[in-house]
Symmetry: C2
Subunit: 210 residues, 2 copies
Amino acid sequence: MAVIYSQFHSLESEKQERIINASLKEFARNGYDKASTNEIIKQAGISKGSLFNYFNNKKELYLFLLDYVEKVIKKIYAEVDWNEPDFFTRIRQLGLVKFKIYKKFPHAFNFLKAVSHEDAADVKPAISKLKQDLIASGLEKGYQNIDWSKFREDIDREKMINIINWTMLSFAEQHMNELDSIEDVGREILSESDEYFDILKQCFYKKGEQ
Amino acid sequence: MAVIYSQFHSLESEKQERIINASLKEFARNGYDKASTNEIIKQAGISKGSLFNYFNNKKELYLFLLDYVEKVIKKIYAEVDWNEPDFFTRIRQLGLVKFKIYKKFPHAFNFLKAVSHEDAADVKPAISKLKQDLIASGLEKGYQNIDWSKFREDIDREKMINIINWTMLSFAEQHMNELDSIEDVGREILSESDEYFDILKQCFYKKGEQ
DNA sequence: AATCTTATTGACCAGAGTGGTCATTCTTAT
DNA sequence: ATAAGAATGACCACTCTGGTCAATAAGATT
């Protein structure tokens, strides 16, 4: 398993990233079947022959991406401090890590979203396995160690969490487009998202708490 | 303009709907260029010849859909009482109307979403026109006549509105899939969405108000 | 400089799918 | 029985598909 894709891995990392991003983009947009290898090589700036040297065929390329993205996700989760007891601080942390990933692999999340809707017979088994692996590897620690005592008790907790998550996800989605412009724009967005956090704290924290 | 598509319009309405839905679905999924007329006729259960009898070519079909969807939207907005002063009541109303549309044309909203990202040269001008028409026809009355006096004044109003909208949209999206199962499921979903409204009211209304 | 090894290329392939046509068949009403 | 209209799907030229491989280029070794 380790020596596989060795050709690809001995490429300059910049070229690797170009190929990965082009592939993620094309598969995310069009799904496995309709994704075009011709489009991928055009976007990546390599030749047809090269792509099929690195990966023997389309399926292998896709499986490689699945594997790669799984590793990326695991790395994200490894970077988060799961002992942080404050819910908002933790969500914020998670958001920041995801943001870092997004800058390097802008299409990784869209690719994952597409993967979950994929139903090409060629790759479906591998996708099921990925899902199982992700769940098994304990990514569902989700809200472990969170200190809920700060929160109002007269509001259904699950719905509360949903509202917070939906707000942050929608906010993120809305600003995903505009952030490739300036590098520094990250700061503005971050502070705006903090304002949303403040509002939600006002809503859901008990009176006394911050 | 009125007699155009007369062939299509003299079909049984059930057949018309089958064709419309199949087309909306295919264009929503794949965009103008990659949408397959073969797939459309397969989904609609008609022959190739028929489709190209009703609409001379792919472009005409697409333009017809644009026009059709525009009318549907305008009808939605015509059904809403824009004098209802309570923000939540009005959003709820709008949601209900959209829900009705969704049951009849499940892919209409996805189609519209896809339209706004479309960039096939063939249809881009028509899309620009649609956008202008929709804006021009005063659909931006949005929050007209809303009574804001019930709301807290220590929270940024725009952000507040965003949180409410994002919550309802995310909630809707999450439940879109499961509602073709039972017909009666609509009631459950509706009452659950009302619970979210109640929470948001607790958050954003002034203390005294309901 | 010459030779050998490895990486990269793109013209090329058979097959599938494309939007669109139209002679033929099927329905329906007289 | 007949005429008119509606519906069909085999067919067309064309594009694009995933994948191959002889030819070339680049690097390494002597």
